[in-house]
Amino acid sequence: MKTISNMSRRVMLGVMGAAMLAAMPAAGFAENAKLKIGFVGVTSGPAAAWGTSNVRSMETLAAWYNELGGVKIGEVTYDLDIVTFDDQKDPKRAIAGMEKMAQEGIHYVVGPNVDDGAAAVRPVAEANGIIYFPYAFPKSLYEKPASNAVLGMIANYQSGPAIYKYLMENKGVKKVAFVAANESDPLSQRDGGVAAAKALGLEVVAQNDTYQNDTRDFSPVLTPIVALKPDLLVLSGVAPANAPLLIRAARELGYEGLISTETAQDAKVLEEGAGELANGFISVGGASTPEIASDRMKEFVERYTKMFGEYNDESNTKVYALDYILETLKASPAALDNVEEFKKAMDTFSAPNPYLKGDAKLTYVGSTSFGQKRQVAVPMVVNEYKDGAFETLFVGTVD
């Protein structure tokens, strides 16, 4: 009995000691409340890179802010807590993810990454007072009566016309052909691109050509298009895995015109898959270039690379959403629990853009495209691939 009693005492002391040790760090940070920001998007499967760059950007920034002592909104200083949910590019799972955010009392969510997921979560977000920042392009998400979605990047129907106009004026493009994977996102991007090209007065010589997303040999797909000799071949919504294969097939079939896309690409994948045949390929890049990046952007890239071992050019755009949320909340602290206040603040919100040199501002835009300010303002960077790296072709803006 004596042994048992001694053991019990030792166990109790051990438990108490452990409990005190566990409580100590908590006590150290106790002065800061927690502010939860959600992410619902794809972080697994073939499209994992899209959501992973979001999550990593948010986690890098959150760690940075927390290290500096938190974020002050109104009179309270908060530590950031990023709550993530992998929707696996499945709209049903995206709904479950947004419901989880609602159950956790989260009012600000980044994502989803694709059209159908972003459309699927809309009723849940609107019913539960959640503002979300999709990386998806359907205008219905951002036009009235919708009001809870804020586009987190430049849409293809915004970058497309800018690219076509640039190529018309600088490269003499007159005839354009479109090819897209037979999936909702690429097809909707193709339709937007065709409309934009026609509006600019370009002759569209091919607009119905599509391919299965798992196609491995694109020669049969491109043979009839190359025969039409377009000045510009647009790979609408092309996945990074397919871009080098399409470029290589087109060039090997003798195509000598320009090739472009409105989606972000990976220079390493282009280099391995198409080599020098990819030189001159035009794509939309992350929202920064060495010429316009501020010191803060450079430090963000360093911290991100240190945390995750590699950097993704797309994160130059993905870094913005969390800062837009925080800066708008700082401007309107009442929006912490009331997204209607956030919506009111969006119309007049303006803050210095910490990621750009000079006096650039963080503001909400989109009036021209959506009839209301439901888009973050980020630089539109258009790149040209050359010998294993992207070079900036031009930088534009969007309203």
Binding site: D217, K268, E272
Partner: protein, 288 residues
């Protein structure tokens, strides 16, 4: 039109080589190897690593792909399929096992090689270009190699002792056993050869189309289509199925291009009608 036919022939040659390994395993063991596409992908990644990353000669990389997959195939037959076939009389048991190995390979390949598309330098540079016909030299080389491999495979099956044993096994397993054929040994060799073919074609095509971890499933589906067209378990059928599918794809994508992505819709519809008339495909009986 010459270009369309050349595209179809090239596609057909590579498809036929993909289908050969699948039909061999089916003929010998009555196993639908759902992991065939994943074996192709693994072969592609091995060539990518040996040739693209380590800088060793392409032939070494191709051998490494073929040999690695042969060993994996032999081990799968010995420790997985043989055990299941012995313990279960239900055919779906091997199908479920094959599906499980496909998922397993998918996960392992993603873990080891990541989600990115990978490619290697061209093995032959330059393009053959005449009026009306353009074909890069590396495609011509790969198409020719595919035909050489197909011919070597047929000759091996026709005239070598293991080939004859495997054909006997495919015709009648019990009779072959009664005639002294070492059934287990030749089943293992056959499975290893099937897997090796998948690895070799994966290694060959990584030079043209690259490879990524998500394409195993679609490759398997195309291989099954070719086998369905030609007839399961028949070498000639797999070759015919490959060329027919390649030609249908090439012609369809040219002729039907104005109607959007309907080529595969038409191919699937034609396949359903065809199978309802000839359920065993064009040459639907084993070996013989």
């Amino acid at each position: 039109m010459e270009q369309v036919i050349a595209n179809g022939l090239y596609l057909g040659a590579q498809y036929a080589l993909i289908a050969l390994g699948l039909t061999l395993i089916f003929a010998l063991m009555n196993v639908l190897n759902f992991a065939h596409g994943q074996m192709y992908v693994l072969g592609g990644f091995i060539t990518y690593t040996v040739y693209g990353q380590l800088g060793l000669p392409f032939v070494v990389a191709l051998l490494a792909s073929g040999m690695t997959l042969a060993v994996i195939g032999a081990l799968m037959e010995k420790y997985l399929f043989r055990t299941v076939i012995k313990r279960s009389h239900r055919e779906e048991s091997t199908m479920l096992l094959a599906a499980a190995t496909a998922f397993f390979f998918d996960a392992v390949i993603l873990l080891i090689f990541g989600e990115k598309q990978r490619g290697v330098p061209k093995i032959v540079k330059g393009v053959f270009n005449t009026d009306g016909l353009i074909m890069p030299y590396d495609r011509i080389a790969v198409g020719a190699l595919a035909i050489v491999f197909i011919a070597a495979f047929i000759l091996y099956m026709q005239y070598s002792r293991p080939g004859r044993a495997m054909r006997a096994l495919a015709q009648d397993r019990v009779a072959a056993q009664l005639m002294g054929v070492a059934v287990e040994r030749y089943s293992m060799i056959g499975f290893a050869m099937g897997a090796m073919l998948a690895g070799i074609v994966g290694g060959l095509l990584v030079t043209i189309t690259g490879v990524n971890s998500g394409i195993g499933g679609p490759i398997s589906i195309k291989a099954f289509m070719m086998v369905m067209i030609g007839g399961a378990g028949v070498v000639g059928g797999a070759i015919a199925g490959g060329f027919i599918l390649g030609m249908m794809e090439s012609v369809g994508l040219t002729v039907l291009r104005e109607y959007g992505d309907v080529t595969y819709l038409v191919i699937f519809a034609a396949l359903m009608v065809f199978l309802s008339i000839r359920p065993n495909g064009l040459m639907g009986k084993p070996w013989g």
